[in-house]
Amino acid sequence: MIDLVIAAEKSKYSRNELIHYFLNQLVDTLYKTPFIRVGFIVYCKYAVPLIDLSTEYRNLGEIYAHIPVLRGVPEPAKAIYEAVEMLFDLEDQLTLKKKIVLIASFIKEPSISLEDALEYASMNDTRVLIIRAPQKKTHWILAEYEKAPEGVHLRKNNIPDIINELLK
């Protein structure tokens, strides 16, 4: 079983409609893939768990659309910590792989170190795939992210590639 937590930003800095579209495409594919449990977190200055890891995540896109745009500076590290906690709390003998998909704008520099959060996830045997979906050009970017081969910029035409990468 792959345990996958999707952490999606919903702020005035992120491309929320594109993220919504991506989430719907992702859920359609995941539903055809056996042995996957999905959890869902939406974040901005705080991270809100919305669906705990389960095989019932069909309405994930609708939930994202339903949430209002959240205020404040996005703190992706909080979403990572929340996701790691969820993966840890609900881990069982069925868990084979743990993954987090972080969808972020990276427009504003957060106050909590994303680098430390990524390191924490790694220490918990959790792979993090970073997807950028900014409204405009990114002013701040994690130095490590530039080197990360897994980081991708979300566009409508590369969504199938991102999903394939995610399911590897």
Partner: protein, 186 residues
């Protein structure tokens, strides 16, 4: 099995008394919860009780248990924790506390309002709803604002629960006994 988590407001405003909820609202809540939890546990062994506190932040204070001694000890230690009121954070902590539990799940928020911090209650309610947690609210009247009612009503409607307004100790006992003994609205 029925799991109940009490989400208790420990913000500064709970330091004041109102009506016969004295010497402070929090002390009256502690006294009432001690009576109510003892009563429901003596009537039904298939109940587990947990606790979360909130002010500007929120955290768990009691993991799910049916050990009444532990519950009473935890309640006796409750104190005013600080400024701000973040019931949404409290509700999320309550749902997390019940993450691995099977059976029916319920969170009962006890508050005097003034919500001004953290995750909006109606967004936290989405998580409770997705996790099939019924959410009831016991609201101590006196300083509740329209916006507090808006969030509380949205939350209880979404999560199949009830909002009960109280102003006296007898009403508080009645409300908590009623909500702790039954599941949500059909």
């Amino acid at each position: 099995m029925l799991n109940i988590v009490y989400v208790i407001d420990t913000s500064l405003s709970m330091r004041r008394g109102v009506s016969d909820l004295v010497p402070t609202k929090l002390e009256a809540v502690k006294e009432t919860l001690t009576i109510v939890t003892s009563k429901i546990l003596s009537n039904n062994k298939k109940i587990k009780i947990g606790g979360v506190v909130f002010y500007g932040y929120a955290y768990p204070i009691l993991p799910l248990t049916n050990d009444n001694v532990k519950i009473i000890k935890t309640l006796s230690r409750l104190r005013i924790l600080g400024e701000g009121s973040a019931p949404g954070d409290g509700l999320i902590e309550a749902v997390k506390l019940m993450r691995r539990s099977s059976g029916e799940k319920k969170a009962i928020i006890i508050t005097d309002g003034g919500f001004n911090k953290g995750i909006p209650l109606n967004i936290a309610a989405l998580y409770a709803w997705n996790s099939r947690v019924i959410v009831d609210i016991v609201a101590i009247s006196g300083r509740l604002k329209d916006v507090d009612h808006y969030y509380m009503d949205k939350t209880t409607r979404m999560c199949n629960g009830k909002k009960i307004l109280v102003n006296k100790k007898s009403e508080l006992i009645k409300a908590l006994l009623e909500l702790s003994s039954h599941l949500g609205n059909p």
